[in-house]
Symmetry: C2
Subunit: 604 residues, 2 copies
């Protein structure tokens, strides 16, 4: 099994580790220290060695922070994690605070005292975030000071896991669709166009995409942790721990890329003296800015030049995504068949659900990893948006309940992410009404036609309007970008209420995942991945439009649909989608599952 169901931290972490951290603070003459969740790579998932916040506090959520002072400490989490932080963090050691309302800056303003020196590790904070923190400390008369040696790392030293050492391997042109030399050349031109001589790239996904390589340093995504300097002429220096260099990597990278150990990076940055260097303040930590400025380089602040080109998948990547989704669809069909037969008689618990689905995916022989830990939420657990079943929370679905399963796979040709909500036994009228409203939103977004330049902020409304009309809503985004055998959450495009100026462009892959959650009751989410493509021209149409092609192929539970709530157009979309699922997936599965697919995909 790839997924495990135990807890990686517990409330004893604070009492055990806080004294060790405070001892190191005293040695360094610091009155306090900031511990963000982010690590050196500002990446969504961290290697175990960089789970500093969890080691210090016990809190394992995907976002948060802590501040350790001599006499007190606080942990900061957002609304998703208010219950979890109570279960995981010892309240006698850490005051729990809101990460968003006031957050760390307000804490510094209120709790720091004049003259205090509070340390931070400049490798872990973006320059933008640091600005606010410094201003807040200054208001209290305290000062933030960068440290060379992170006191948490020093305190953790003996027990700390090793840094990951997975080999970095070539990612074949059959999957990437564009030679690395061509990518380097066109991104180099863009760097020049932005008035820079070179760019410092620190996002692992950009390194992977640009050089057509994949790694294994981070669970659930094939990312190589490293850095690169790309010059405007397309030549590059790639910094990787030598132990991670696979045998065929140097030849794959070619002559225009010099492969160097990670510890050569500071010297390489210093050599950029007098040059204009593009760095992304949302992606690269303050350390890069400080180091380049100290070296006398001219820093050009701008978005990672690989981010948008990476998001616009080429035809080979799109065809790979289609193949990956067809392969994934076989596992999903077997899984949903199991839930609709055995699962209805002997309802599974969440852990069994996760294991069964993983086994079906593993059976493809092509599974490289899950794209994230499967969320299987039975009954009320389905209403916890960021739920992950553990042995402690594991729950068996009961008759009349919903089971929400959000899962995905990493294949060499593509990354998948799909959510289906299934009724066990007979669902209530309320469940069906809410499910149908979520489906209406899913269809409105999935069938949208929109002009070039339209952002995900504009389209988000289509997915929510049917729920809004009933006085309902959901507290998460409607869609995130997805990588090509890379991160399952990938920017810069997204579909959400939050203002975002990135237009959806052909080739981009995003999720379409509206939901509804009744706390203590049930959760509903319907998620397909879709890719943006030019829309079929329409008679009388005057402007080119874009539309979505749905990649995910899995039936939507018809026992939860109130057909009368759907318009003729919505029913048409659903019938066409189900016909496609049956036609593509049916021939690839056992005849009895094919027959079942025909049934659940029949016209509504």
């Amino acid at each position: 099994m790839r997924q495990t169901f135990d807890e990686h931290a517990d409330p004893s972490f604070g009492p055990r580790h806080l004294p060790l951290i405070r001892a190191k603070l005293r040695e360094q003459g610091l009155d306090g220290f900031l511990i963000p969740h982010e690590d050196e790579h500002q990446n969504e998932y961290l290697p175990d060695a960089n789970e500093r916040l969890s080691w210090a506090t016990g809190f394992t959520g995907s976002a948060g922070a802590a501040v350790v002072m001599a006499e007190k400490a606080a942990v900061f989490v957002d609304g998703r994690y208010t219950l979890q932080v109570k279960a995981q963090v010892d309240p006698s050691m850490f005051e729990a605070r809101d990460l968003v309302e006031g957050g760390v800056p307000l804490y510094l303003e209120q709790e720091a005292r004049p003259g205090q020196i509070i340390g931070y590790d400049p490798r872990l904070h973006s320059p933008d975030a640091l600005g606010g923190l410094k201003r807040a400390a200054a208001k209290a008369g305290a000062e933030l000071k960068p440290v060379n040696a992170n006191p948490v790392d020093l305190a953790w030293a003996g027990e700390r896991p090793a840094q990951p050492t997975a080999k970095v391997v070539p990612h074949d042109l059959a999957y990437s669709g564009e030679a690395a030399a061509a990518k380097r050349s066109r991104i180099g031109l863009e760097i020049g166009r932005l008035g820079a001589d070179a760019a410092v790239l620190t996002a692992p996904a950009s390194i992977a995409w640009l050089f057509n390589v994949r790694g294994g340093d981070v669970i659930r995504s094939p990312l190589p942790l490293g850095q690169a300097i790309l010059r405007k002429d397309g030549s590059a220096r790639l910094f990787l721990d030598p132990v991670k260099v696979s045998e065929d990597l140097p030849a794959w990278l070619g002559n225009a890329v010099s492969l160097e150990p990670e510890n050569a990076l500071p010297e390489a940055l210093a050599q950029l003296e007098g040059q204009k260097v593009l760095v992304d303040p949302a992606q690269s930590s303050a350390w890069y800015f400080d180091t380049l400025e100290a070296a006398g380089a001219g820093v050009v602040r701008g978005a990672d030049p690989c981010a948008l080109p990476r998001a616009r998948k080429n035809p080979v990547e799109i065809e790979g995504a289609r193949k990956a989704h067809e392969r994934d669809a076989v596992a999903l069909a077997r899984f949903l068949y199991w839930l609709s037969t055995d699962g209805q008689i002997n309802p599974p618990d969440e852990v069994e659900t996760v294991k069964t689905l993983e086994a079906f995916r593993e059976a493809s022989g092509a599974l490289k990893d899950l794209s994230f830990d499967t969320i299987a939420g039975a009954g009320p657990n389905g209403a916890i948006v960021h739920y992950r079943p553990t042995l402690k929370t594991n729950r068996r679905v009961r008759q009349g309940e919903l089971l929400l399963v959000d899962s995905g796979a990493q294949y060499l040709d593509g990354t998948t992410d799909v959510t289906r909500t299934v009724a066990i036994g007979t669902p209530s009228a309320e469940m069906c009404e809410r499910f149908t409203l979520v489906l209406k939103g899913h269809i409105a977004l999935g069938s949208a036609r929109f002009p070039a330049g339209t952002t995900g902020t504009a389209l988000d409304t289509l997915a929510r309007a049917p729920l809004w009309a009933y006085g309902l809503d959901y507290d998460h985004g409607t869609g995130h970008g997805v990588g090509s055998y890379l991160g399952v959450h990938e920017g810069p495009q997204r579909i959400s209420k939050a203002p975002n100026s990135i237009a959806l462009e052909p080739g981009m892959i995003v999720s379409n995942e509206p939901g509804y959650y009744k706390v203590g009751g049930f959760g509903i989410r319907i998620e397909n991945l879709v890719t943006v493509k030019p829309a079929e021209p329409i008679a009388g149409g005057e402007r080119p439009m874009l539309s979505f092609e749905t990649l995910t192929l899995a039936p939507i539970d018809r026992t939860l649909i109130i057909a009368d709530l759907l318009t003729a157009e919505e029913r048409g979309w659903l019938n066409a989608y189900h016909a496609r699922v049956a036609a593509i997936v049916g021939p690839k599965v056992e005849p009895k599952i094919g027959a079942w697919l025909n049934e659940v995909c029949a016209e509504l």
Copy 2:
């Protein structure tokens, strides 16, 4: 008649005025000069005395700029005005350039030469815009230099109209709904909360709102041109040309407001030495920032603290808006009746249309002004979004054509803005299809329910989606804020594609005006004003929602509606709206018009 139909400028302006301006540049030792459309008050409409761009070039559009160099000159307009600029500006004097793509900065980069000194009037440029201009000039090795005396004003001196001197008068509590002292007090608290000691207010609409006064310095809106300093304790200094002070104004303002001549402002700013002063960089020109910084004040950059409170109308203002719209509806009913009877037999021309509508509004006895020059676009003229009929362009509607009429009125209790598109004779199938699609978008937006925090960017999509589905769109925003007997275009909220983080809040008034334009053919726009209010609770609803109350009361031409394209819900909305129009307006008009209203408002 309030509206006139002649041109205020012509292509002879450039040849006549450019040499005069260049002579003044030579006297001041300048190699060039920037002429923005904006004036000292950064307001949408300018008094004649500040129409510098039009005097210099002949161009009368509502946005634009010019650069005058010794040997060449350029005028900059956006896509709306590419035809107009050709008709109004002599191309041998001014090269016409795109205001948006590259704009003035690109021109400076390409055309300025090393060592050149290019002047600008710091009173006319926002600090944000100026930053980009300075960087562009620097790239060319040239320098931008602020002038004390504007060379255009010097050149214009003899012919220049006088600054307006309309009296500033009290605006009664029966219309404003909140005493000025209460407004000053709460805005003062907000200034303190933002860490400032005082705010400099330069937006005429903010001056009018804060002090509950109205003026007449600018056509089509009752704005007093002036400035104010509001302290955090709620006391204020108001700077107005003494000739504009009406007899009862000092008593109305009260003891906490000192009324001072406009030329006392520089000294008053200098007295803010050592204080923190809030100024809006989007609203106040660079001159304020330069002057405050030179005085040793600490400038706090932030939004005009009156902007959001002014946008959230109070119950008295909302009730006033309802009354203003009912009054306006009587004029509209008479006008639309005229168009549907006489107008069908002897179709009017655009000027007759404008005059007839104005006369009906004037007959109310309450008309203070139009809220903008009425747009009456017959046939192809309707497709020109920013059209205003002149004697030169005036066109008679023909049978089978559409007439688009966008108009509004200023009444003491509210400002109106309404567009109706009417078929003369029998419309084509294409006209009806497009009209129905626009109507579907209008209804989708007008009937939306949405949670607190929703922006106009999110809602804009609802109005466009029906057009997008047919491969169509329109190139203007869907809605703008509207003042309460103030500007007909008022921020900060708006409904448009452009990313905007301002949430729609109860009491805000916005327009709902999707459209469709077939160049050379016809134009369609359906515009109502709506106000945001809490939505009626719905059974099973879990979250409070907001919705729109439609203020405008005028029938929508049913001869242009294809009923089969409407859903049952859309038809329900239209029937309910028409029933309301007939019920409210019918009793206020002549019996024959009431009977006609009942007919055109009957169930569809």
